[in-house]
Amino acid sequence: MLRRPTLAAAALLAAGALLLSGCTGNPEPEPTATEITPDPNASVDIRLVLEPGNLDIRETAGAALDQILIDNIYQGLVARTPEQDIVPSLASDYEVSPDGLTYTFTLREGVLFHDGEELTPDDVVWSLEQVRDTETFRDSARLAKVDSITADGQTITLTLSEPDSTLLWNLTGRAGLILEEGDKTDRKTDANGTGPFTLESWKQGDSITFARNEDYWGDKPQVAEVVFSYLPDNQAALTGALAGEFDALTGFDANLTEQIEANGDFAVSLGASTDKGTLAFNSTKAPLDDPRVRQAIRQAIDKESIVTALGAGQTQYGPIPELDPGYEDLSDVAPYDPEAARALLAEAGAENLSLTLTLYSGYGTTVSQILVSNLNDVGITLKVDAVEFPTWLNDVYINQDYDLSFVLHTEARDFENWANPDYYFTYDNPEVQRLYAESVAATDEATAADLLAQAARIVSEDHAADWLYNGASVVAVSTDIAGLPTVNVNERLSVAEVVKSAE
């Protein structure tokens, strides 16, 4: 039985905070909430990289929406911590039946939406049913196994047609967000949730401002407002920070650590993340349909040098990153060995290959330069085609018209794409699909994770793709600031506990 009362959640959070302070790149201890005197009227300015196209959390894809809107503005029955643990949120408590078919949540009382309306059990039933039944909503399919959603008093019951070990996790994401029934808010430009912040304003092309929700059901934020400033250029972000215009920079370049830490006002934290630098192979066409060619490419690439060049992150040799269940060290599958790579290519009769790498131009050139040089060493000429993101979506993702593709996949627990033969990975292995289905159907976490690990090993052994690195969340934080998460902040950036020094 999975049962997690709130106290355990608090303990987990505390443990997470300890973990976090251990992750910082600066040897000096960071100021904590107890050391600085919080300024309740503070405005905290955080630099982010990618601005959402619109704010419609139901219909519009993009990690940029999840990153700021979930947890801060919108909430679900359950939430996830930066360390990827599932904790109660709008539900004060929850229970899963031993057969994995019944999920029972106790809904908190006295929760208000930002427009002042009270959250009712009917809102919960309506929200979840609407997601499940509206096919154009992102993540609609994640509730496909939920047969019925009922409310009895404050008790919400989800009955499943078959067990789904990913359901609780999915409820911490978009699929589980609780909105107000009959609300007329235009979600594209406005928001009405239950979270600790309200959407104050969105200046498109510039910034999004959140204000403290004075009627929040939980601990109210200790800052008056948080401004998310969108600034893609790292150099501009650096100069802005040095001129005192930002309190924190996310998505920072670890190679600029020395410059930003120089005057002692900032410290760079390297947090773990589920960012997977994925080099996809189009295995539907020659020569990449030959596993020896794919293996040769993997063994030709020096992952350590990529991590060194990026200045952050770690190596990852399989589809599952260390933060996710099912992780295991797969470095033995295709270790760096140019000699072996050349031999494999010769064996496959694929010498003097010429391949094209299609990637989004926003990723910069560090990784592609290393790939060109590494592959050149084993006799593969790599042409780099850096394109706009919509072009990548169209050519690679939709039309699967590519040789090699590089994407930083940020989403946590996204193994399902390896079990989907239609996905742009072009990977189709029935054994992997079976193991994944069994993992989803498992009723305990350990079994589910074990099955994922088995499937992940096969994916790596098939050389379905290469994993160039597991990125780090590089966050530069002002010494005036505490309580900002530093783990996996490309996915989620909860600012509920941020404090700013009064001095």
């Binding site: 601005e51 196209g53 619109n54 219909e59 519009t60 894809a61 993009g62 096919e135 154009t136 992102r138 993540d139 399919a141 235009d186 594209k188 430009t189 304003s201 200046k203 498109q204 092309g205 510039d206 910034s207 401002t209 401004v227 400033s229 600034l231 893609p232 250029d233 150099q235 501009a236 100069t239 802005g240 040095l242 001129a243 215009e245 394109v387 706009e388 993101f389 919509p390 072009t391 990548w392 979506l393 169209n394 050519d395 993702y397 939709i398 996949h409 794409n417 742009y424």
Partner: protein, 316 residues
């Protein structure tokens, strides 16, 4: 004069119509669409088709163009497919940054170009004149991005006098802060555009110096500088106005680059983001508005030329 103005206006409208067709078609060549972006990397083909239908992207191109053109006729530039916000609202909001930025840059360009251009012409052949001339050539060749970064490092990071990036959230409700935010970007564009303009001023002045009327004026007792100021400058002014009309387009291009560098929420930055989002109705509305602006400036310059130059009026 009236006939000239009417002919010129008809030309302007024709130009706008051709521009609208070109803008519409060129944007359709871009791979990818906004529906794919909304759908993201986990959508099924059915979901994608549903989004396309909702946005009207499944309509034939000609129908889409006709709908857009019809809207423009009634004063509707269209609206964003992502946020539903009317293009005109967005343009007006971003113009609060870009128009003052352009005007400041233009003023700075003139402040640089006029005195130094005339001076370098008058002092031609002497060390200071040559130095000015070489300086202008060098400055005109400097990339905007590099110049901007140098200015930021000196005036924002080292000296701390001006902000390194951004625009006050309250905009022009904080006039001081807004002006300070635009100063470095305006200097960056203004000095470089000014250096280019300075070469025109120099050559126009040189030409004027050699003209008979200046010589005659000098012969009638004016000093060379007096002759140049009284009789040469009006002629120089005419060619400068023509070049300035072209310069406006240069400043708009400069604004696209500089708004990225300084994180300014202006039209240039919006345009780049909208192209990246494939929000085509918004992009085409913005581009048409910008094209219209440049064409209208050209129109006004041509008319001004007519009014100021008696020779052209008499030729009619």
């Amino acid at each position: 004069m009236i006939r000239y103005a009417l002919t010129r206006l008809a030309l302007l409208l024709l130009g706008l119509f051709v521009a609208s067709a070109l803008i519409f078609l060129t944007l359709r060549v871009l791979p990818g669409d906004v529906a794919q972006l909304i759908a993201g990397v986990n959508a099924t083909p059915e979901q994608l088709a549903a989004i396309r239908e909702r946005l009207g992207l499944d309509q034939p191109l000609l129908a889409q163009y006709a709908a857009w053109l019809g809207g423009i006729m009634t004063g509707d530039l269209g609206s964003s497919q992502l946020t539903g916000t009317p293009v005109i609202d967005e343009l007006l909001q971003k113009a609060e940054v870009t128009i003052p930025l352009g005007l400041m840059a233009l003023t700075i360009a003139l402040l640089v170009a006029l005195p130094f251009g005339v001076l370098s012409a008058v002092r031609r052949g002497r060390p200071d004149g040559t130095a000015l001339s070489v300086g202008a050539q060098t400055l005109a060749a400097v990339p905007v991005v590099w110049a901007g970064m140098m200015l930021v490092i000196v005036f924002a990071v080292w000296l701390g006098w001006l902000p390194a990036q951004g625009f006050p959230r309250d905009g022009w409700d904080e006039p001081g802060a807004a002006l300070r935010a635009l100063l470095l970007p305006a200097i960056t564009i203004g000095v470089i555009e000014g250096a280019m303009l300075m070469r025109f001023v120099r050559s126009a002045t040189l030409q004027a110096v050699g003209q008979d009327y200046v010589r005659t004026a000098a012969a009638k007792g004016l000093t060379r500088t007096q002759a140049l100021l009284r009789h040469g400058l009006p002629n120089v002014g005419l060619s400068i106005i023509t070049v300035l009309g072209l310069q406006v387009a240069g400043i708009i291009v400069g604004a696209v680059v500089i708004e990225q560098l300084f994180g300014l929420p202006g039209i240039g930055r919006m345009l780049v983001e909208d192209v990246g989002n494939r929000d085509l109705p918004k992009v085409q509305g913005e581009l048409l508005a910008l094209t219209g602006f440049v064409l209208i400036v050209g129109f006004v310059v041509d008319l001004a030329h007519r009014v100021m130059d008696p020779r052209q009026r008499e030729a009619e």
